[in-house]
């Protein structure tokens, strides 16, 4: 028992010192609690190290202890994982729906194209049969056959031209550009350059070129070999033309000279 109390006191003292230290350096309360918890973990570890030996068990007793041990492990792991902040899938579902919508439409479009191709083939067959009937003297050939022809091109969805800038901002969120680039003081982890002053250096067409071909421009300070491939070369395949133009146009409005956006250097 003396061992437990001694280690507990040391743990509390170290934990208290860590809380004081972290408070002095203006750590948020949650971090102060976390460092206190680490100190207590250390205390528990040292209590276990100096704990007396456990006597051997056998038979039903050992089986019962084992089952309890497993139940404790399962409970600790599930509750431990549940105590961390949980990502809400609802935050993501809307985004995924928007990203996948054109892809799904493309898939349905593919099916529609196949149907159109089949209809064309049938139409050709009908024409051939009509010609034969005509040759055979049948004067009731289908004069109006062309009515079932290809007709007008399929109606296009037509990009909503109403708020183009909003579409650009939406693409910024959907493609999660904020994960690497800081903009308006938000996002970014220094993986990519801050973009508040990008319009002072690049035109909308050049921004578009950079999105579609990331190696076309390299920002100053991001020229190390292992940094050259950091920006994914995938947006030309993932994004539609109108979305890229909208994103580039939106970024083309950022001309905040008080922010030190690194100068892009043309590479291609």
């Amino acid at each position: 028992m003396g061992n437990v109390i001694k280690k507990l006191v040391i743990g509390l003292v170290v934990g208290g010192a860590l809380v004081g230290f972290t408070r002095a350096f203006e750590f948020p309360v949650i971090f102060q609690m976390m460092f206190f918890a680490y100190a207590m973990l250390g205390a528990v570890v040292f209590m276990i190290l100096d704990a007396p030996a456990v006597k051997p068990m056998s038979g039903i007793k050992s089986v019962a202890v084992l089952v309890v041990f497993y139940i404790v492990l399962c409970t600790v792991y599930i509750s431990g994982a549940s105590m961390w902040p949980q990502y809400d899938p609802e935050d993501e579902k809307g985004k995924i729906e928007k990203i996948l919508k054109p892809k799904r439409a493309a898939t349905e479009q593919g099916k529609a194209d196949e149907l159109i191709a089949r209809a064309k083939a049938l139409d050709e067959q009908v024409k051939v049969l009509s010609a034969r009937l005509k040759d055979l003297g049948g004067d009731q050939a289908t004069k109006d056959q062309a009515a079932g022809g290809p007709g007008a091109p399929p109606a296009t969805t037509g990009a909503a031209s109403g708020d183009f800038m909003k579409l650009g901002e939406e693409q910024w969120q959907l493609q999660e550009c904020y994960n690497c680039h800081k903009l308006k003081g938000e996002g970014g982890k220094k993986r990519g350059p801050e973009l508040d002053n990008i319009a002072s250096y690049l035109s909308v067409d050049e921004i578009k070129q950079k999105i579609l071909d990331p190696k076309s421009f390299m920002a100053e300070g991001f020229e190390k070999e292992y940094e050259k491939g950091k920006m994914p070369d995938k947006y030309k395949d993932l994004m539609e033309e109108k979305d890229v133009v909208a994103l580039a146009s939106w970024l083309g409005t950022f001309k905040n000279t008080s922010v030190a956006t690194p100068k892009p250097i043309k590479k291609k």
Binding site: L66, Y87, K234
Partner: protein
């Protein structure tokens, strides 16, 4: 389980594989809707169970054959007995691997028929010819290896060991082959200037297999399987130790537990670096994967991983501590003071060096290698020494510190989008949340463990081990290690799979189903625990049915 029963299970699995391939050719099969779990979780459960069984049957034979060779070379029958007992369990679990493999194909085909057909078509030669041939070869070799154990003794032992090496060779090739489509789903082939679809249309089978993450995944799984196999060997030993009635049996299973743990920990030391290599290649393939893992949706999964790895390192070092206690004369063992000094300085110095010279800049090695090797090179010239007990206790302190650094997040939020000042590290201390600090933390855990084993080695050379007299709590440590290793495998398996985001095959084949979102860590933990318990129950049953009868007959 008798031979004909095992053969039946293997035949069923092959039937499932070929039947699956044939079924995949049937167009327009509508997907099945799994009640309660949903389709994705159903696939997750079966796939993870299959991987756990497969991981063991591929990992265990690696150290089984090494153990058999050691027994032959040292003429120590304990090694041979260990190898044979683990092989007995492996043979039973081999059937379960085949069974869950067949089930996996069926569930996958029933739930995602279009994707499965697409994948099988891209790897048809592999799924229809190469993999079944390897599977059959491995089946034949495993049973030959097991059933010739007693016949190929004495002069024929070398032949038996060679057979074991061949078994491992085929097993490793099988692992590498099946990692092809698995890694392809994460990092499909791509080339600059060509769309992934266009490049895929012209890519050869080898191009598809030899993708970005294939070799890192191979290495990660290979080392992971050995770790896992070692810890399961420790679990076998713990069960048998607890059930042993004679002192010599307890002595043997105490020894087996130690060896299992040694193998598990030995391979575990390489695992963080293999995991880092895999993550590095994934990020190199597509930099947007990195924030998804570390800063966004999956960031808390990595917090949990840090917690689990910290616990595993604490437990494995605690096992060394308990093992030291049963060595007579251990109190005389001392070590240079440089060892604890380097342990304490390591997180600070390494964080600074890796910040100034980030990976892969080799300049960092010029600073770190002399420091890490100092206790073993110049330590002997320094007269100041400390007791083994002090070194190990400082080591424990640094494991806690290392784990604290590993677990300190940039913010207590599940996604960077929700970060506010009240939940974020102060900017001056943000280095604690960056990769140099995380790498230093991981390396501190590894370094402390290595030093502890060096001390243990000195202790056994200067003292006498009293096998069988280890603290009984050590058996729970072995069980804990196996359980935690399996749980962590499940967690990281989920992470690797979730990295595909809303794609079946990343950036190539979207998953249009309603389940293509990132689940919560809590939800994942429930399923990972469930899978671990089912796996544990089967393994425990396999140990009881295979080893208890032989235990009662006694051993030579």
């Amino acid at each position: 389980m008798k031979t004909w029963q095992r053969s039946l299970v293997a035949a069923f699995a092959l039937l499932a594989l070929f039947g699956g391939a044939a079924y995949a050719q049937a167009p327009g099969a509508p997907p099945v809707e799994f009640p309660y779990t949903g389709n994705r979780t159903a696939v997750w459960v079966v796939a993870q169970l299959h991987i756990l069984f497969a991981g063991f049957i591929l990992g265990a034979p690696i150290f089984v054959v090494i153990s058999e060779w050691l027994g032959y070379r040292k003429q120590d029958p304990r090694y041979d007995r260990l190898a044979k007992e683990v092989t007995k369990v492996t043979v039973i679990l081999y059937s379960m691997t085949a069974l869950t493999g067949g089930l996996f194909i069926f569930v996958l085909l029933a739930t995602y028929p279009q994707f499965t057909t697409w994948l099988i078509n891209h790897f048809y030669l592999l799924f229809a010819v190469i993999y079944p041939l390897l599977f059959i070869s491995e089946t034949i070799l495993l049973y030959m290896y097991f059933y010739t154990w007693d016949a190929w003794k004495g002069e024929k032992k070398a032949r038996h060991i060679a057979l074991g090496v061949l078994l491992n060779l085929i097993g490793t090739i099988t692992l590498f082959v099946i990692d092809g489509p698995t890694s392809f789903m994460n990092t499909p082939v791509k080339a600059e200037g060509i769309s992934p679809q266009e490049f895929l249309a012209t890519a050869s089978l080898w191009d598809k297999i030899f993708n970005y993450s294939w070799m890192p995944l191979n290495l990660h799984r290979l080392v992971g399987n050995v770790t896992f196999g070692g810890f399961v060997a420790g679990l076998i030993a713990a069960y048998m130790f607890m059930g042993a009635k004679k002192d010599e049996e307890r002595a043997y299973y105490d020894w087996m537990g130690f060896v299992g743990n040694l193998i598990g920990v030995g391979a575990l030391l390489f695992l963080p670096f293999m995991g880092y290599l895999l993550a590095y290649e994934l990020c190199d393939y597509d930099a947007s994967i990195c924030p998804y893992m570390m800063a966004d949706q999956l960031s808390m999964f990595f917090e949990m991983q840090g917690a689990m790895i910290g616990l595993i390192f604490l437990a494995s070092n605690y096992y060394i501590w308990l093992s030291m206690k049963r060595i007579e004369g251990v109190e005389k063992v001392r070590m240079t003071i440089l060892a604890p000094v380097v342990m304490v300085l390591l997180p600070l110095v390494m964080t600074k060096v890796l910040t100034d010279y980030p990976v892969p800049d080799p300049t960092s090695l010029a600073f770190l290698l002399p420091m890490l090797l100092a206790p073993f090179t110049i330590g002997r010239f320094i007269p100041l020494t400390v007791s083994a007990s002090t070194v190990i206790k400082v080591g424990f302190l640094m494991v806690v510190v290392g784990d604290a650094i590993w677990l300190t997040p940039h913010g207590f939020v599940p996604t960077g989008a929700k970060l506010v000042a009240e939940l974020e590290l102060p900017s001056d201390w943000n280095f604690l949340a960056l990769m140099p600090a995380k790498n230093s933390a991981a390396f501190t855990l590894v370094f402390v463990t290595v030093v502890n084993y060096v001390i243990y080695n000195r202790a056994i050379s200067q003292g006498t081990i009293v096998w069988g007299k280890i603290d009984f709590v050590s058996q729970f440590v072995l069980i804990f290690l196996a359980f935690s290793a399996i749980w962590t495998m499940g967690l990281m398996g989920a992470v690797r799979s979730l990295l595909r985001k809303y794609y079946h095959t990343y950036n190539l084949l979207p998953d249009f189903t309603a389940e293509s979102f990132t689940p919560t860590l809590s939800y994942s933990a429930w399923w990972i625990t469930g899978i671990t318990v089912v796996f544990y129950a089967v393994v425990s049953f396999a140990i009881l049915v295979t080893l208890r009868p032989s235990d009662s007959k006694g051993h030579a």
